[in-house]
C-alpha cells in the first residue's frame, strides 16, 4: 500500500540563546492509510516536534532544516501558505495534550467544532452541528445534544479531551496527530478517552500518529511503535515484537523501570506512638468541604502512600498536616502530642520535624538563590549551626544526593535538569533533619528513568536516617514500588486503607478495584479485554 505520510531524514533546529542547534537528527517515519504509529520517548526526545512537523508546522523558535515531509504527494516542508492552510484541519488534524488550554475560552465548544468544516467548506455549519452531536454521542459525552453549547471552562477536563478528539474528526481527516492526549488525565478518565479515540479511529479508518511517554498506553493504541531518544531513532517494530523482544538497551531500560521495589521493612513496634496520627480531620475551603472525617497513622521509618484522583483531597491533607490550612474538626498528633492547627503557632520542634517536597521542583526552588544557599538556610534556621558548619553539612547532604558539592554548591536552580532540581528539593527537606517528609507528587513531573532514580534515592535516605514518608501520588505503579501502607481517597474521604500487599490483592472496595484495573498494562489486548469485562459486569 502507498504511504499516506512519508517523512525522510527529517532534521529540525531549535533556537536557544540566539543560536540554532539541531534537536531532531534525521528521523524517517512512514504511515500507511488507516495505520496507527506510536511515537514514544522521554521529554526532550523530540516526539511532539516530529508530530507537528508531520503537519508541516513548527513551533516558534524551531525550523525544519533538512529532509522531507511528504503527505499524499505534497511536500509539506516547501508548501505555500494557502494550500497548506487547506490541508490543515481538513486532511491532517491535531489533538493536543491539554484540551483545556487548546480550546479558545471565548467561544462555545460547538462553534469551535464547526469552524474547521466551515472554513474548509466541507459542510455548512448547521450540518456540522448535527454531526457534532452524533460524534459526541459516540464518544459518550454526557448530554451530547447540549454539551457543545457550553463554554470550555464549563466542561470537565476528560470531557474536553473527548471534545477535542471529536473536533479533530470534524472534517473526517486522513491523518490525526495525537500529542499525549491522555497524559493530563486521571487513570479512570484516561480509559474512557483511550476507548473513545480508538473507536473513532477504527470507525473512520483514519491513520494516526500517537505520541506518548507511556508504554502501556501506546501498546493499546498503536500497530507499530517507534522509540525516540534525544532526537534520534532508537528502534522501530510492530507493537507485539517491540513489547516482547526489544532490541536496544535503552528500550529495555524503559521497559524495566516498573520492576523497582523497596525491600520489606520491619514490623511496627507495639505500643509506640505513631510519628503522625491524623484523627477525624474535616477541612474546607470556605464553605466547601474538601476533607471529610479523614483518619490514618504514619509509623516511624515507614512510607504511607496517599492515593487518589484529582480533587480527592490528597494535597489538602498535606496542607492540614503542615498547618497551611487549619482543619475545621478533628486533630493531628505528632508523636502523641497535639499539633497546633496553624503553622504560625507551632513550635520550632514541630516545624523542623515535618518537611515537605513539592511536585514542581521548578517553582519550589528560589531561582535567585544558589543550591548552597537553598540547603544551608534550613540548617542555620533549625539547627542553629554556624555558617561554616552549615556549609559542611550542606556538602554532606549534596554527597548523599549524589551531587558533587564542589560542582553544585554555587550553581543556581536554572542550571539544573528536572531530576537534579528534585534532588535539591529533597536536600532542602533533609537539611532540617526531620522525622517525617511529605512528598507531594514528587515524581509525576519527571520522566520514568529519572523518576526511578528519585525513588531509589528516597529509599536510600529513608534507610540511612530512619525517616517516615507520606507519599502523595496518583500513580499506582509508584505506590507499589515504594509504599508500606496505602490510604485510598475519593472526594475527600478515605475509602480504604491497609498494607500495600493487601490493597494490591482482592477483594477490595469497588473504587480501589476501579483504580487498580484502570492502570494500563503492557499487554496490547488489555484495553479491549477490560472494556469487555466492564460491559459484561454492567450488563449482568
Amino acid at each position: 500500500m502507498e504511504n499516506l505520510l512519508s517523512i525522510k531524514d527529517l532534521k529540525i533546529e531549535g533556537l536557544s540563546d540566539g543560536k540554532w542547534s539541531e534537536i531532531v537528527h534525521g528521523i524517517s517515519l512512514d504511515v500507511k492509510p488507516g495505520e496507527v504509529v506510536g511515537l514514544i520517548g522521554e521529554s526532550g526526545a523530540g516526539k511532539s516536534t516530529i508530530g507537528l512537523a508531520a503537519m508541516g508546522y513548527t513551533r516558534d523558535g524551531c525550523r525544519i532544516s533538512g529532509g522531507s515531509v511528504n503527505f499524499d504527494g505534497k511536500e509539506l516542508t516547501k508548501i505555500d501558505r494557502k494550500p497548506h492552510q487547506d490541508l490543515l484541519g481538513r486532511r491532517i488534524a491535531y489533538v493536543a495534550q491539554s484540551a483545556a488550554a487548546s480550546f479558545n475560552p471565548a467561544h462555545k465548544i460547538i462553534d469551535q467544532y464547526t469552524e474547521g468544516p466551515a472554513i474548509h467548506k466541507v459542510m455548512a455549519r448547521k450540518q456540522a452541528q448535527l454531526e457534532a452531536i452524533e460524534l459526541f454521542e459516540t464518544l459518550q459525552l454526557p448530554n451530547p445534544a447540549t454539551i457543545g453549547f457550553r463554554y470550555p471552562h464549563q466542561v470537565s477536563g476528560g470531557q474536553l479531551q473527548r471534545a477535542i478528539t471529536a473536533m479533530a474528526m470534524s472534517c473526517k481527516p486522513d491523518l490525526i496527530i495525537f500529542d499525549e492526549p491522555t497524559t493530563a488525565l486521571d487513570v479512570t478518565t484516561q480509559i474512557e478517552v483511550l476507548a473513545a479515540i480508538r473507536d473513532v479511529v477504527t470507525m473512520l479508518n483514519t491513520a494516526a500518529i500517537y505520541i506518548t511517554h507511556d508504554l502501556a498506553v501506546v501498546a493499546q493504541m498503536a500497530d507499530r511503535i517507534k522509540v525516540l531518544r534525544r532526537g534520534h531513532e532508537v528502534e522501530e517494530a510492530e507493537t507485539k515484537t517491540m513489547l516482547n523482544a526489544p532490541k536496544e538497551e535503552y528500550t529495555k531500560s524503559l521497559w524495566a523501570v516498573r520492576a523497582f521495589k523497596t525491600p520489606a521493612k520491619p514490623k511496627i513496634t507495639e505500643g509506640a506512638y505513631p510519628i503522625l496520627s491524623v484523627q477525624n480531620v474535616t477541612a474546607a475551603y470556605g464553605t466547601e468541604i474538601v476533607l471529610d472525617d479523614v483518619s490514618f497513622d504514619i509509623h516511624k521509618g515507614r512510607t504511607v502512600a496517599v492515593v487518589g484522583e484529582s480533587g480527592s483531597g490528597k494535597s489538602t491533607t498535606a496542607k492540614v498536616i503542615t498547618g497551611l490550612l487549619p482543619q475545621k474538626h478533628g486533630k493531628v498528633l505528632y508523636e502523641g502530642a497535639l499539633l497546633e492547627a496553624s503553622f504560625k503557632t507551632r513550635n520550632q520542634h514541630h516545624l523542623k520535624n515535618i518537611q515537605m517536597i513539592f511536585q514542581m521542583a521548578d517553582t519550589a526552588l528560589n531561582p535567585r538563590q544558589t543550591i548552597g544557599e537553598i540547603i544551608q538556610r534550613p540548617i542555620e534556621f533549625y539547627l542553629h549551626l554556624s555558617p561554616k558548619a552549615a556549609k559542611e553539612r550542606a556538602c554532606d547532604i549534596l554527597n548523599e544526593l549524589e551531587l558533587e558539592p564542589s560542582q553544585y554548591l554555587h550553581r543556581s536552580p536554572s542550571e539544573l535538569s528536572g531530576g537534579q532540581k528534585q534532588r535539591v528539593g529533597i536536600g532542602r527537606a533533609l537539611a532540617a533533619e526531620p522525622q517525617l517528609i511529605i512528598c507531594d507528587e514528587v515524581t509525576s513531573a519527571l520522566d520514568q528513568l529519572v523518576a526511578e532514580g528519585i525513588l531509589k534515592l528516597l529509599d536510600k535516605v529513608q534507610q540511612t536516617f530512619g525517616l517516615s514518608y507520606m507519599f502523595i501520588t496518583h500513580d499506582l505503579e509508584t505506590v507499589r514500588a515504594i509504599s508500606d501502607e496505602v490510604v485510598i481517597m475519593q472526594r475527600g474521604k478515605v475509602v480504604e486503607q491497609g498494607a500495600t500487599t493487601s490493597i494490591f490483592s482482592p477483594p477490595n472496595h469497588p473504587y480501589t478495584d476501579l483504580l487498580l484495573s484502570s492502570v494500563p498494562k503492557m499487554n496490547p489486548d488489555w484495553l479491549t479485554q477490560l472494556l469487555k469485562q466492564r460491559a459484561q459486569s454492567t450488563a449482568g
Binding site: Y94, A96, G116
Partner: protein, 318 residues
C-alpha cells in the same frame, strides 16, 4: 444575567463613594490654596471691616466643614452654586462648556479609536514587518512630542502654510455641524495623535501576548487564516485590556484637554478651569474638578463592566 446587574449596581455604589471622597479632597485642597476672594475683590486698601462684611456675605466666615456640607448638599440637589466672579449660575456655565469639551473629545475619539485599534491589529498581524516597524516609530514619535508642540506644528502646516483649517476654533452653540467639523478639526486631530499611539501599542501587545497560547496554535493547525486567527481567536480574548486602555484614553480626551483648548482658544472646560483659577473663582474650579472626576469614574466603571461582559468565564459560571 442578574449577575451582571448586581455587579453594575455594586460598581455604581463604589463609584458614588469614590466621588464623595474626591469631593472632600477637592474642597479641602481649595481651602489650602493661598489667597482670599474677599481680599482679592476689594483690593489692598480695603478696611478690615469691609473685607469681613464681604466674607460674611459670601459665607466665607463659616467653618470649612459647614461650608463643605452646604456645598455637598447643593450638589446632591443639582445646585453647583454660583460663580463668585460674575454671579452666574455655575450649572448653566458648565453645561455649555461641557458640551463643547464632550463634542471635541467625541470628535477625536471617532478619529483615534478606530485608527488605533485597526493599526494595532494590523501591526500584530504583520509583526516584525516594515509596516509594523513604521507604525511603531511613527506612533512613538507622536507620543513623545508634547501636545502643544503637535498643535503648533499642525497650525503651522495645515493652517498657516496651506490654509486648510482655521487655527482658532471659534465655535458656539449655533455653529452648524459641518462648520463645527471644519473649525474643530485641528484640536481634534491633535488630541487624536496624542492618544492613538498608546491605544495602538496596547492593542498590538495584547494580541501578540496571546499568539503564544495553545488555542492559537490549535486554530493554526485547523487551517485558519492569519487574519481569522487575529480577529476571531485572539481579539475576543484581548478585549479586556483593549477596553481598559481605550477608556483610559477617552477619559484623558476629556480631562486632559486644558493645553489644547488654550492653544486653539476652544471654549471648553479646560479654558474655564484656567480662567477660574486665575480669578480665584473657587466654586467654579471645584465644580469643574468634580465634573472631571465624574467623567473619569464613569468611564472606568463602563470599562470594568464591559471587560466582564466580554469574558465568558465571568458571564457563564460553571
Amino acid at each position: 444575567m442578574h449577575l451582571l446587574v448586581t455587579l453594575i449596581l455594586q460598581r455604581i455604589g463604589l463609584g458614588v463613594v469614590t466621588l464623595f471622597g474626591i469631593s472632600l479632597m477637592i474642597f479641602f485642597a481649595m481651602e489650602i490654596l493661598p489667597g482670599d476672594l474677599a481680599q482679592e475683590t476689594l483690593g489692598q486698601s480695603a478696611t478690615p471691616e469691609a473685607v469681613a462684611a464681604l466674607r460674611a456675605e459670601l459665607g466665607l466666615d463659616q467653618p470649612a466643614i459647614t461650608r463643605f456640607f452646604q456645598w455637598f448638599s447643593g450638589i446632591l440637589h443639582g445646585d453647583l452654586g454660583t460663580s463668585l466672579a460674575n454671579k452666574r449660575d455655575i450649572s448653566e456655565l458648565l453645561v455649555s462648556r461641557f458640551k463643547n469639551t464632550l463634542a471635541l473629545a467625541s470628535y477625536s475619539a471617532v478619529i483615534a479609536v478606530p485608527v488605533a485599534v485597526t493599526l494595532g491589529l494590523l501591526a500584530a498581524l504583520y509583526r516584525g514587518s516594515i509596516f509594523d516597524r513604521t507604525v511603531n516609530v511613527l506612533s512613538l514619535s507622536a507620543v513623545s512630542l508634547p501636545e502643544f508642540f503637535i498643535a503648533y506644528l499642525l497650525i503651522f502646516f495645515l493652517s498657516a502654510k496651506f490654509g486648510l483649517f482655521p487655527s482658532i476654533s471659534n465655535v458656539s452653540a449655533d455653529t452648524s455641524f459641518s462648520e463645527y467639523m471644519h473649525r474643530a478639526f485641528l484640536p481634534a486631530l491633535t488630541m487624536a495623535l496624542v492618544v492613538t499611539a498608546h491605544m495602538m501599542r496596547m492593542t498590538r501587545a495584547a494580541i501578540i501576548n496571546l499568539l503564544a497560547s495553545p488555542y492559537i496554535a490549535m486554530a493554526r493547525l485547523k487551517g485558519a487564516s492569519p487574519m481569522r486567527i487575529i480577529l476571531i481567536h485572539a481579539l475576543p480574548n484581548a478585549l479586556a485590556p483593549i477596553i481598559n486602555v481605550v477608556s483610559l484614553n477617552l477619559a484623558y480626551l476629556i480631562t486632559g484637554v486644558v493645553l489644547v483648548e488654550i492653544v486653539f482658544v476652544y471654549p471648553g472646560l479646560g479654558q474655564l478651569i484656567v480662567d477660574s483659577v486665575s480669578k480665584r473663582d473657587i466654586p467654579v474650579v471645584q465644580a469643574t474638578c468634580l465634573v472631571f472626576a465624574t467623567v473619569y469614574i464613569t468611564l472606568n466603571l463602563t470599562a470594568d463592566v464591559l471587560s466582564i461582559a466580554t469574558n465568558p468565564r465571568l458571564m457563564h459560571r460553571k
